[in-house]
């Protein structure tokens, strides 16, 4: 976090309170148009593979017309969809296989920074892993702006509070975190909306628990996602206790499921580095079924993918201590 970044040039920022509604309406229109273009060009691509020119030409015409319209709306609204920033537009896991797979039809590998991503804890007990994963992804963004962490007051008591020395142990400076204790999910969403709207924060992490947190719906997430696109702030929605079979519809760019993975044991069968099982549940460009087992390396701030079978949990070995308890460290039970 101590790395000083080059000065940010020409950051786009608009006064947001007054004409927010107009902006949202306009932007949702914009996005609709963009989706149309995407889907059109996709069909055009398919068509050109199967049948020559004729079909693709009309589709292309339609696409150019839409693009012209899009440009017109853009110039009228004086809004750029993604901020001009010196930081890269995408952030990566640092693992070639995953990053390349996540590319889709975007300009760079990895996940877009100016977007809303969902991170689900596979079970309630995996919440700590999911929280760590969202912090580590925030760290991978390499922003030197603060991380805004918003949590519901009630859940903090049940799941434990963020413990700053533990954050430091992951290689993240706890001083970069601004922690907000929201009374309920609606206040939390409002705070997140504020945080995402201005470019003062680097990352906004909103922690919500329960099957259906109050106020969390398509509109709210769409608002967050649009604000994130405008301000360039990475927005992570950290969820636990969600219904994984039938998840709430949201406007998130991607949805991940995170659970704890057995670590590679260290000497004397001590628990090793933090390990995660992640799998991609949903992605805007239709990716599916991507999963990996990751291990976090604090020293070079990167993930490492673990190959299958590398750390098969050895259930058989239970430290049978009392048989050879001596004072010699060498004879300690393994």
């Amino acid at each position: 976090m101590a790395v000083s970044s080059p000065p940010i040039k020409g950051r786009h920022r608009k006064a947001c309170s007054t004409d927010l509604l107009d902006q949202i309406i306009l932007l949702s229109k914009l996005e609709q148009t963009m989706n149309d273009i995407d889907s059109d060009s996709a069909t055009a691509l398919d068509a050109s593979l199967i049948t020559p020119a004729a079909v693709s030409e009309t589709a292309e015409k339609k696409a150019t017309a839409l693009k012209a319209r899009f440009a017109k709306i853009l110039s009228a609204s004086d809004t750029k969809p993604v901020v001009a920033d010196d930081l890269p537009t995408h952030f990566t896991f640092g693992i070639e296989r995953i990053d390349a797979a996540l590319r889709g039809n975007a300009v760079a590998d990895g996940l877009p920074r100016a977007a809303l991503h969902e991170i689900h804890a596979a079970e309630k007990a995996d919440m700590t892993s999911a929280a760590a994963m969202s912090l580590l992804l925030a760290e991978r963004c390499q922003t030197d702006k603060p991380i805004l962490w918003i949590s519901e007051g009630g859940e903090a008591r049940r799941q434990g509070r963020l413990y700053p020395p533990g954050i430091a142990e992951l290689g993240i400076d706890p001083d970069a975190i601004i922690h907000v204790d929201a009374a309920d999910s609606i206040t939390g969403l409002r705070a997140a909306a504020d945080g995402v709207r201005s470019s003062a924060m680097g990352v906004v992490i909103l922690e919500l628990a329960g099957k259906k947190p109050k106020g969390l719906d398509m509109t709210a997430t769409r608002r967050l996602s649009l604000s994130a696109q405008k301000s360039g702030v990475l927005n992570l929605l950290l969820r636990s206790g969600a219904d994984m079979e039938n998840p709430l519809p949201t406007a998130a760019f991607s949805r991940w499921q995170v659970s704890a993975a057995p670590s590679v044991p260290l000497e004397a069968n001590a628990p090793g580095h933090s390990a995660f099982d992640i799998s991609l549940l949903r992605h805007r460009s239709g990716l599916y079924g991507l999963s990996a087992q990751l291990e976090w390396n604090r020293d070079n701030h990167a993930f490492r993918e673990r190959q299958a079978g590398e750390a098969a949990p050895d259930f058989g070995v239970v430290p049978a201590l009392f048989a050879d308890r001596t004072d010699h460290p060498d004879t300690r039970a393994a």
């Binding site: 000065p7 700590t128 799941q159 020395p165 142990e169 003062a200 628990p271 430290p319």
Partner: protein
């Protein structure tokens, strides 16, 4: 200026319960006897006074009513009246039991003269049902004494010696010496008076005569910068009031700019024409003179008010005072363009703190303690002065402190193979966990110097043995045994203190 409210306690009763049908007094128990502490106007006319026993008074006036005297309510009422008087000047002090002191130096321009201001205050008090005597003088003590004795400015010499407010013995001694009035005293050489009655007397005399000035202690600390606006026609719309506040802030920020300061804490008072006062406080994360930010914070503040602002009959005075300031240099834009990021961050923090409450928006600070749960503070973001460095963990080691911590730790049932050995299985939240790997113990002793009987062995609190364990599913936990087996406790309890990623 001093305002003396002789019938404050009884008029409070009349205002809350209505006028009783007979003369009444307020009483208090003193040394086992019920004594009159405050007679009402009619009772005074019948010759009853403070300090008289209720039984004696009843003998004189058989149909006398008596109520218990609530001193606390009187003090609260006096404070409220002092607040209401802040419309005349920001420097108002309550002088218990029955008086108010106002420093109106330079504050009378709206009323053309000091007398007009004083009469306005008297009228307003009269309208709410409190009779008041006022007096103007150079010093607060003189004004107070004059008001109490119903005299006007310049009549200090006619005050009785009891106006000195010394003890009864001194007053008696002075009267025995033939000195009845302040005028008699003022002619005497001070050295003689001091030799006979002590320095206290000459000091009080000087204060009464305006030779020495005593600073008054206002109920509310003065703001560094104050901007206010009065309206001939009360404002009945909140929006109009907000616009006025914005203008006031701009006025204040011009003054602040000249000093090279910015506002950190702002206090707003909205005086309703019926005497009610609404107060709002704002705090910012960094000193500011930014009107747009102020407007945003103000809206946030009003949004989260518990009871909404009610203009009622309208506000006739709005005051904005900047209570705390901090140096803020005139801003210079960067040559290469771009914005000041620090300022953005501070504005965001102020906005969130205003909305959620200042304690809800926190930043972490390391604390100097080896007890895990005491190793950190979560302080309000507005208070954190500067970044303190966190301990950097050694390289190439797994996390040894959890990401989530339970405070207080959660009780777990543990099966260990030996009582002072590592855990083998544990039950947490009614689920059994099989330990596959563990590391430990990391022994953390209690801070014996914090305890009363700390230095005696085994009495400074229990030692904890921490274990980092991993269960079958790969989740990592931080468990500790509370107390050394055999030495400190025969059957130590186990607790879950945190969860690792």
């Amino acid at each position: 200026m001093a305002l003396f409210l002789p019938y404050l306690p009884t008029e409070r009763i009349i205002r809350t319960r209505g006028q009783p049908k007979a003369p009444f007094v307020l009483t208090d128990k003193q040394r086992g006897a019920v004594v009159i502490t405050a007679p009402d106007r009619q009772a005074v006319a019948l010759g009853l006074g403070v300090g008289m026993k209720l039984a004696d008074a009843r003998a004189r006036v058989p149909d006398l009513l008596a109520f218990e005297h609530d001193m606390l309510a009187d003090a609260q009422l006096l404070d409220r009246l002092a607040e209401a008087c802040e419309r005349y000047t920001p420097i108002v002090a309550a002088a218990p039991p029955h008086s108010l002191i106002l420093d109106i130096t330079g504050a009378q321009h709206f009323y053309h003269s000091e007398e007009a201001l004083a009469r306005d205050a008297e009228d307003r008090l009269d309208a709410t049902g409190y009779s008041a005597h006022w007096a103007l003088a150079e010093t607060p003590d003189a004004a107070l004494a004059l008001a109490r004795h119903g005299l006007k400015q310049g009549a200090e010499a006619q005050l009785p010696v009891s106006a000195l407010d010394m003890n009864a013995k001194t007053h008696q001694a002075l009267e025995r010496a033939g000195l009845y009035r302040i005028g008699d005293l003022s002619e005497r050489p001070r050295a003689n008076l001091a030799a006979r009655f002590g320095m206290e007397l000459t000091l009080r005399l000087d204060r009464l005569l305006g030779i020495e000035d005593r600073p008054i202690d206002p109920t509310r600390s003065l703001g560094n910068v104050i901007a206010e606006r009065r309206f001939p026609e009360p404002l009945t719309h909140i929006d109009a009031a907000l616009i006025v506040l914005e203008e006031l802030f701009m006025e204040a920020s011009i003054q602040l700019e000249q000093r090279g300061h910015g506002a950190r804490m702002i206090r707003i008072m909205l005086f309703r024409c019926d005497g009610d006062i609404a107060r709002l406080g704002l705090e910012t994360g960094a000193s500011t003179r930014d009107a747009a930010l102020f407007k945003r914070l103000l809206r946030e503040r009003i949004d989260v008010l518990n009871d909404e602002l009610n203009p009622g009959f309208g506000y006739d005075l709005i005051r904005l005072s900047v209570v705390a300031t901090q140096p803020l240099a005139v801003k210079q834009l960067k040559l290469e363009g771009g914005e000041d990021r620090q300022e953005d961050e501070a504005a965001m923090v102020s906005q969130l703190s205003t909305r959620m409450g200042r304690d809800q928006v926190q930043k972490f600070q390391p604390a100097n303690s080896h007890i895990p749960e005491q190793g950190m503070f979560a302080l309000p973001c507005l208070d954190v002065p500067s970044a303190a460095p966190w301990q950097i963990p050694p390289s190439d080691s797994p996390p040894v402190r959890p990401l989530h911590m339970f405070d207080p730790p959660q009780r777990v049932q543990v099966i260990a193979e030996v009582p002072d050995g590592p855990p083998h299985r544990f039950t947490w939240r009614r689920k059994a966990h099989q330990v596959v790997r563990y590391e430990g113990p990391e022994r953390i002793a209690s801070e014996w110097w914090q305890r009363k009987d700390g230095q005696q062995s085994g009495k400074g609190g229990l030692t904890r043995d921490y274990y980092r364990v991993e269960d079958v599913k790969g989740r990592r936990y931080w468990l500790f045994r509370h107390g050394l087996y055999g030495e400190e406790k025969t059957n130590p309890d186990w607790y879950l203190h945190g969860l690792f990623a």
